[in-house]
């Protein structure tokens, strides 16, 4: 009996050691520097509140931690969209002026691999900037650092919350440098093919309601016309 007990306790210790290694694994810590921070090209900065209650509309399966907003919004309970969120939000420029409307669809990805420190979400943005045109942003996002640095500490905290300053890029692809693919659809952006990076800045999180003070930024690179011509040659 004592050998069986010893085996079970050993197994529990082994599982705990495994998860501790995953949690503290330094190899899954990614550089928070945006690949676009060293570009010479112009950048568009689109900011939004990543708190559901601040958005125009946020909906999910209705049973998740983050409550849909507004309260009467249709929920995504069907099996094929149960792991998907939809958000419509006002986008602000770097001077906090309203510049457009963005709609974001996010779905949990089957490429998620906890062993490799990847909590992948496939997402797309549909953006309209009045007077400038429309954009489509395709990206896979990795929320592993967000989970490790904010969500898990919030659960460990006796007050079931987290407070601090956390900044991180969540874009993980499809670009080789961890950039999103951006396609222009109309107006000044017609025919545009470029890259973007989305990042989050969190200040407060509660286990009950999810993020309560968090903003997002979508940075899109605008290639210079002469660069495009040079690449064609």
């Amino acid at each position: 009996m004592k050998y069986l007990l010893s085996l079970v306790v050993g197994m529990l210790a082994g599982v705990a050691i495994f998860f501790a290694f995953l949690y503290y694994n330094p190899l899954t810590t990614r550089n928070t520097l945006s690949p676009l921070s060293v570009t010479d090209n112009d950048l568009i900065s689109l900011n939004y509140s990543a708190v559901a209650a601040d958005s125009l509309l946020y909906t999910n399966d209705g049973e998740s931690q983050i409550a849909p907003h507004p309260a009467k919004v249709l929920q995504l309970w069907e099996p094929s969209i149960r792991n998907t969120r939809a958000m419509a939000t006002v986008l602000f420029d770097s001077r906090s002026q309203r510049v457009g409307i963005g709609i974001k669809f996010s779905s949990d990805s089957e490429r998620t691999s906890i062993l490799n420190g990847k909590m992948i979400v496939d997402s797309v943005w549909h953006i309209y900037l009045p007077g400038r045109g429309s954009l489509f942003v395709e990206q896979s996002e990795n929320y592993w650092r967000y989970l490790r640095d904010i969500v898990i500490p919030a659960h460990w905290n006796s007050g079931n919350n987290w407070r601090g300053i956390w900044n991180g890029n969540i874009t993980d692809g499809p670009g080789a440098l961890g950039t999103a693919k951006v396609i222009g659809g109309s107006g000044n952006f017609l025919g545009l093919e470029t890259e973007g990076v989305e990042s989050l800045a969190a200040k407060a999180y509660t286990v009950e309601a999810g993020p309560v003070a968090m903003s997002g930024e979508l940075v899109i690179e605008l290639p210079r016309p002469d660069t495009a011509i040079a690449s064609d040659l």
């Binding site: 050998y3 010893s6 085996l7 306790v9 050993g10 197994m11 529990l12 210790a13 082994g14 599982v15 705990a16 050691i17 495994f18 125009l56 509309l57 909906t59 507004p70 009467k72 919004v73 249709l74 995504l76 069907e78 099996p79 094929s80 969209i81 149960r82 792991n83 998907t84 939809a86 419509a88 006002v90 309203r98 409307i101 709609i103 669809f105 779905s107 949990d108 089957e110 998620t112 691999s113 906890i114 062993l115 909590m119 496939d122 797309v124 549909h126 309209y128 900037l129 009045p130 007077g131 400038r132 045109g133 429309s134 489509f136 395709e138 396609i183 659809g185 109309s186 107006g187 000044n188």
Partner: protein, 195 residues
């Protein structure tokens, strides 16, 4: 007993590693794709939206009946000619397979647009630009500008048509939006040209 404990630790490590490796963390539900293969090697697929039951959002300034009813849409002048809609998308068997956004806007600088983004979680997303003028039959034709994952290597036309419901039933929807895609692989097109 100490050896048993050590063996238990190793076993625990192995079990946890195997579980995380073999058990998928995310398993998206898949409806069967109902695709019709065309003689030219392309494929067509039809989707539809039952209105109003599949409509999630109508965002437009001065909208008398906003959806959701407690929606607080911005009244800025710059959004005056923008209409944003969100829908659930159904396949030809009437099963919900994804979500769609439709933006219709006009602006003197950036022109008139009608665009769709279809997001099918288990398959990928499609970005579509429609012509702003519908045909005499009420059909509107558009072109896929970009796609992700399963749709990444595809291009082709998309049509949109509003079909009013003529049923007298009280429970009947007011109509449906039909979306018909006809995509061809860009790789296939290139190979055809080379041959």
């Amino acid at each position: 007993m100490f050896r048993t404990f050590i063996a238990g630790i190793l076993l625990g490590l192995a079990v946890a590693g195997a579980a995380l490796y073999y058990v998928p963390a995310v398993d998206q539900f898949r409806e069967h794709s109902l695709i019709v293969v065309q003689p030219n090697g392309g494929n067509s697929e039809s989707f539809h939206i039952n209105v109003p039951t599949d409509r999630i959002l109508i965002g437009a300034p001065a909208q008398q009946n906003p959806l959701p009813t407690d929606l607080d849409w911005p009244s800025d002048e710059q959004f005056a000619n923008l209409r944003s809609e969100l829908f659930k998308i159904r396949n030809s068997k009437d099963a919900v397979v994804g979500l769609g956004s439709r933006l219709a806007a006009s602006h003197p600088d950036s022109g008139d647009i009608i665009e769709w983004v279809l997001h099918l979680p288990a398959r990928g997303s499609v970005y579509i630009a429609m012509r702003t003028n519908p045909s005499d039959t009420g059909q509107r034709i558009g072109e896929m500008l970009s796609g992700t994952r399963e749709f990444a290597a595809l291009r082709g036309p998309v049509s949109e048509r509003w079909v009013a419901n003529t049923s007298d039933s009280e429970d009947a929807s007011s109509g449906r939006i039909n979306l018909l895609t006809a995509f061809v692989s860009t790789k296939f097109e290139v190979e055809e040209v080379v041959e």
